[in-house]
Symmetry: C2
Subunit: 222 residues, 2 copies
């Protein structure tokens, strides 16, 4: 999290108003927004690429990175509109940045917006972007000790996706311990294991996304 100084409160309050506005705007259109958070190289973009190649929903992406347009280009190659935010040093996305990016997406034609936050297991969890749900992405090679060492994100996320499960035979990783620690922090978290390139475990993830988008449309049409 950013250093706690007196001035922080007013910035956060302004940002919260923007986040609330985003939430209201998306609710009015029946669009679900997810905030995907994980370390650099956790496999966030790869998960999204393979998600969109199979997902039967109209999706758009907001990509957050310190530098380069690479991730947005990868998403666009998967046939999905993507807006790149370069934070130029800022270690997380904030609602005002996301709001400007959303103006560039065709929201009226979408069911789902996925925000891929800056690769960082710490700071992004502190900031409400107006999302419906936070998703924690953690990869096997990062190690099984990450939930307890970086508890905040795992506590706040509705889904924890363990990626790169194809590397399990090559790395010491105690899967039982990993999930036990996740459930200790967050007993209600939905726990998914995925190897995106091979497609293993992807069906459950796709099913969750479809269910959420369907439920939001139902709710908004009542």
């Amino acid at each position: 999290m950013a250093k706690v100084v007196p001035i922080k409160r007013s910035i956060l309050e302004k940002d919260q108003l923007v986040a609330d506005g985003i939430r209201k705007n998306l609710a009015a259109r029946g669009v679900v927004m997810l905030n995907c958070i994980g370390s650099p190289g956790a496999g966030k973009t790869t998960l999204l690429e393979h998600t969109f190649s199979q997902l039967e929903l109209r999706a758009g992406v907001v990509e957050g990175d310190i530098a380069t347009e690479r991730d947005a280009e990868r998403i666009r190659r998967a046939g999905v509109p993507a807006v790149q935010i370069n934070t130029k040093g800022l270690c997380h996305l904030e609602a005002q940045l996301v709001q400007r990016a959303l103006e560039e997406l065709p929201l009226n034609d979408l069911d789902l917006v996925v925000v891929e936050n800056v690769g960082n297991l710490v700071c992004p969890a502190e900031f409400d972007l107006g999302e419906d749900r936070k998703i924690a992405i953690s990869s096997v090679p990062e190690g099984d000790d990450k939930p307890l060492k970086y508890p905040h994100l795992f506590t706040l996320s509705e889904v924890v996706v363990l990626t790169k499960t194809d590397l399990l035979p090559h790395i010491p990783f105690d899967k039982a311990r990993f999930w036990e620690d996740v459930r200790f922090l967050n007993p209600k978290a939905l726990c998914l294991e995925v190897c995106a390139p091979s497609g293993e475990g992807l069906d459950s993830w796709l099913g969750v996304l479809s269910e959420w988008c369907h439920a939001k449309r139902q709710k908004d049409s009542v």
Copy 2:
């Protein structure tokens, strides 16, 4: 980096004074201090464990983590004194935290202090802790695109250590591209490849540490 607000400057100025004080204190004792920075799960602690099992220098460690004492316990099991700092949410170490930790290490009996920063490829690079050198630790499974996506750390580091090279056969990773991007950002960086558990590449890293500690003692005794 932390959000840029007017109050930040005075905090950074105070922190810089503390960092300068640490640097002066360690120079007087001929102790080298390194600031190791990398993503969560980049292999920082594993590199240190295997370093200390072979290093013929008297070392101490300052461990920075959001939560848990696990990494300090691992280092102590390797026979090296370690002080754990739990930042409780703060995404990086600051000089004042390190100063207090150094008071718990037997500095007069050490050649080398290694600070293992909070797992984070962004924020820790912004803060001077009074170290002699920054070391960037990047692991193969994070992907070959990390230098250009997170340029600040790679630009500032004197050494870039690519870890987990044993996973190269199992992961698409363009090593030539990785090093090319590192050299584009930082032509003078020393580039090392290590698989700590097998010991591959460890000799070069140990040689660099010995050379630095030897040079500092020589300089301080002139």
